[in-house]
Amino acid sequence: MVALVSYIIVSAALLGIGIYGLSVKRNAIRILFAVEIIVNAANINFAAFTRYLNPPGVTGQVIVFYSIAASAMEAAVGLALILVAFRLNSSIDVRKMDKLKG
């Protein structure tokens, strides 16, 4: 059978990919991709831990349920923000969004 460690390692790899995207990418939509990947890495951990260490309980699955709903609305609001930023700047390069800079 698949060990719990395997799920943690996959989740850590996804987290690494997400953090790479978050710190390197300049395209706002790409950064949103990275955020979604990180949230999914966390979701895998919740589902795996609740399956392996808390067998009859479904608490982890409930948490993943909330997390999926929360990240769906985060994507909706984030994309609306990107649309507004594009309308104002005619660019979605996050390094160019420096209107508040002194």
Binding site: M1, V2, A3, L4, V5, S6, Y7, I8, I9, A12, L14, G16, I17, G18, I19, Y20, S23, V24, K25, R26, N27, I29, R30, L32, F33, A34, E36, I37, N40, N43, I44, A47, A48, R51, L53, P56, V58, T59, Q61, V62, Y66, I68, A70, A72, M73, E74, A75, A76, V77, L79, A80, L81, I82, L83, V84, F86, R87, S91, I92, R95
Partner: protein, 172 residues
């Protein structure tokens, strides 16, 4: 007649891992943003596969319905709306110098977490305890043990919907 699963879960796990990780990398690195969005959808489907392996069919369904069905489609629409200027050559210039540093940070963090997990490996369960969870186990827990978070989530969803509408509204 019982149809036995020909492939062991290990093989399924490895295939899902390869698909999910490659698709996640492709989502960030694809030249065209629109291919990146499709790769993100493939990665989400791979994660739904993990949920099925973890006896969480409801989460797998939710993952496909919400992420692949709603979030990825929303992202595709946004890409089409801002398309003119998101040509990658405009945005991705000047990323080269930063990508090495980002790779180091992300790689070190991932290796550290995986290493700690591997060191604790013997203490963690190596195989899932028997007992299958069904979708009907989830419903009662959701509405009897955690009703307040559910209501807060509903309020948050409507607030996010209104907020997104207000943001995207064109002033005239």
């Amino acid at each position: 007649m019982e149809v036995s699963l020909a492939v062991p879960p290990d093989a399924v796990f490895i295939v899902l891992t390869v698909i999910t990780l490659l698709a996640a990398i492709l989502a960030l690195q694809a030249k065209e943003l629109i291919y990146g969005a499709i790769a993100l959808g493939v990665s989400f489907i791979g994660i739904a596969g993990f949920f099925i392996l973890l006896d969480a069919p409801y989460l797998a369904m939710l993952q496909i319905a919400i992420y692949v069905g709603a979030v990825v489609v929303l992202i595709l629409f946004t890409i089409m709306l801002v398309r003119r200027d998101v040509g990658e050559e405009v945005v991705e210039r000047g990323e080269r110098g930063e990508s090495a540093a980002g790779l180091w940070i992300a790689g070190l963090l991932a290796v550290a977490i995986a290493g700690v997990a591997a060191l604790a490996g013997p203490n963690l369960a190596s195989s899932p305890p028997p007992g299958v969870l069904s979708v009907s186990d989830l419903g009662p827990v959701l509405v009897t043990e955690y009703p307040v978070p559910l209501i807060i989530l509903a309020l948050l969803l409507s607030a996010a919907l209104l907020g997104a509408l207000m943001l995207a509204k064109v002033e005239r």
